[in-house]
């Protein structure tokens, strides 16, 4: 049994709030705006110490989820436990969570040093030295207005400030979206260094569209599509659980009976089924292949789109 499933079992056992070792647990979390639903029945858990990738198409609800977890927005239904606590406006909760919004919000006319000093006055726990050292290492001028810095430098300043809080949970909403590849690499390097320095005391949720980046650094994934959770768990276990089955075009029913077909691609000659396996695949007509992280992500992102047969995508004739 995978680690992820074990975690779920634990979550189901604990009736209220926090199970040991979970940085984030949500139960049927929903957020409705006047017309649309931004998040529907979102139940996820992220174990402590992980770097979790939050993936999903634009408008899938990633930002909504992160803002709820950060205590910036409140859900319309369901419950969330962040480090065993309900996200709320409370100094002790806010101190534990670092949140970096998509727009890299900084005061453009203030210098990084100003921000560091502001942070010192707004946080009981504040590691100004950490922030200064990090920025000096990156050769980012502390006394220059933030508005005059490059996008990559701004993102680094914002990350350094968020880390200076010494949070136990870091929520990053597409922080690298606007960065060039080099700046992105530097940013992610800072992040992984911070994770290593924290020695398991820091959990990170990082939302991004850049699947290859995420695959390189993340060990956990939460995939949202159309406001719903499609996938949540340990990346290695998920990759082990999923297989691409290639076999004859007809008669996929026996497979569908035992395994969950996530995506099916049928051509005239053969069927290619991406399945979440339920035990070993014994049908000799099928050849089982491993899936890549990108294949897995794309399959689940598209999973909700085909209308009549919900999880099936058909390509080709007949």
């Amino acid at each position: 049994m995978s680690e992820r499933r074990a975690a779920r079992g634990q979550a189901a056992g604990a009736s209220e709030g926090h199970s040991a070792g979970m940085a984030i647990e949500t139960r049927a979390l929903s957020k409705r705006y006047r017309r649309a639903s931004a998040l529907t029945d979102c139940t996820i858990s992220v174990p402590e110490g992980r770097l979790s990738a939050l993936i999903g198409p634009n408008g899938a609800g990633k930002t909504t989820l992160l803002r709820i977890l950060a205590g910036m927005a409140s859900p319309t239904a369901g419950a969330a436990a962040v480090l065993g606590d309900t996200p709320r406006q409370d100094p002790s909760f806010l101190a534990e969570v670092g949140f970096l919004a998509q727009e890299i919000p900084l005061y453009r006319r203030f210098t990084p040093e100003d921000h560091i000093r502001i942070g010192a006055h707004m946080n009981a726990r504040w590691d100004a030295t950490l922030a200064r050292t990090r920025l000096e290492e990156l050769r980012i001028p502390l006394d220059q207005r933030v508005g005059t810095l490059s996008g990559g430098q701004r993102a680094q300043v914002a990350l350094a400030l968020t880390l200076a809080k010494r949070p136990r949970l870091l929520l990053l909403d597409e922080p690298v979206a606007a960065l060039d590849p080099l700046a992105r690499r530097h940013f992610l390097a800072t992040l992984t260094t911070a994770l290593a320095d924290a020695e398991g005391g820091l959990t990170v949720v990082l939302s991004s569209h850049l699947v290859t980046d995420l695959e390189r650094i993340c060990d956990h994934v939460v995939l949202l599509s159309r406001s719903r959770v499609q996938l949540c768990g340990d990346i290695d276990s998920l990759l082990a659980e999923h297989k691409v089955l290639i076999g004859p075009q007809k008669d996929t029913l026996p497979i569908e009976r035992t395994h969950q077909v996530v995506q099916a691609v049928r051509t005239a000659r053969q069927s290619s089924l991406l399945v979440r396996t339920n035990g070993p695949v014994i049908d000799p007509a099928y050849q089982a292949e491993d899936v890549t992280f990108e294949e897995l992500v794309l399959a689940y992102m598209g999973a909700d789109e085909a209308s009549p047969a919900r999880h099936l995508t058909t390509v080709g004739e007949d």
Partner: protein, 328 residues
Amino acid sequence: MNWVVWRQYRAQGAIALALLAAFTAVALWQGLEVASQWHSLVATCAGNSGCLRQGDLIRGVANGVPYLTLAVPVALGALCGAPLVAGELESRTSDFAWSQSVTRTRWLAAKTGWLLLGAAVCGGVVAVLVTWWSGPENAQLANTFITPQYDTQGIVPIGYAVFAVALGIAAGAVARRTLPAIAVVFAGFIGLRYVIDDFVRPYFMTAVTTYFHLTGPGVSPPGAAWMLSQGMVSPTGQVVSFAVPDMYGGVLPASCQNLLPSLGPVKGGNQSMNAVYSCLQARGWRGFVTYQPASRWWAFQGIETGIYVLLAAALIAVAFVIVRRRDA
């Protein structure tokens, strides 16, 4: 948080201080001139109040100073109040501020508290200067309840400044954008001033009405009182204003009506009017003046300031509820 507020507003604070200093310099320079003119006027008139009232005071460039006072609240509300919440939301810096370990309530309390205090100080300093500077002019005036005397002196400017800033803060929190909030400050402040000036202020306290004989000398309220209305009243309570030229048409008893000189340039002048007054007097009519005594000036200032400060408190409460409850 106090240091954060200082860091965020020190530039605005320096500008406000510079403007206040400049204003103080002008007010002192012109005010001393007016004061010296007044002293020579007092010496020349030697206690003759009519002479004092008609004496010329040249106020020079500072003539518009009182009106400038009324711009202070609007400027503060538009430039400091409106962006307080809305500006942070627009630039998304609210995401930075609100993800530190300080609750939004404390964040807003610190910013709002200091800004309202600053507004009260600005309004107060300007009001003190204008009040001092207007001393000689006030002494010449028959009525100091009017614009721009009443609403640029005393303590009401403090109430105005606090209200305008609170309006800017609340409007910014509701609209989430600075520009509409600035528009609300202008419209709201001017609108409320209009409503209170014209429809509420005369009724702050029950006005005093004095009756007099129509044939005798008229009564004028003592000091710089605020005359609200004057005219004649019949035994049955019908009121006729002195102010309307063709006033008496149809209202006066027919016998007195007949004595009225024909409309247009009055022939026979006071004498023919005296006949009308005697006629009315004989039928029980009386003259009256309704006014707010000069002694109520400070009470009125207190009531008006109270109204503006209470409204400001309500607006600030609205801002708190929105900032606390609404998703950031």
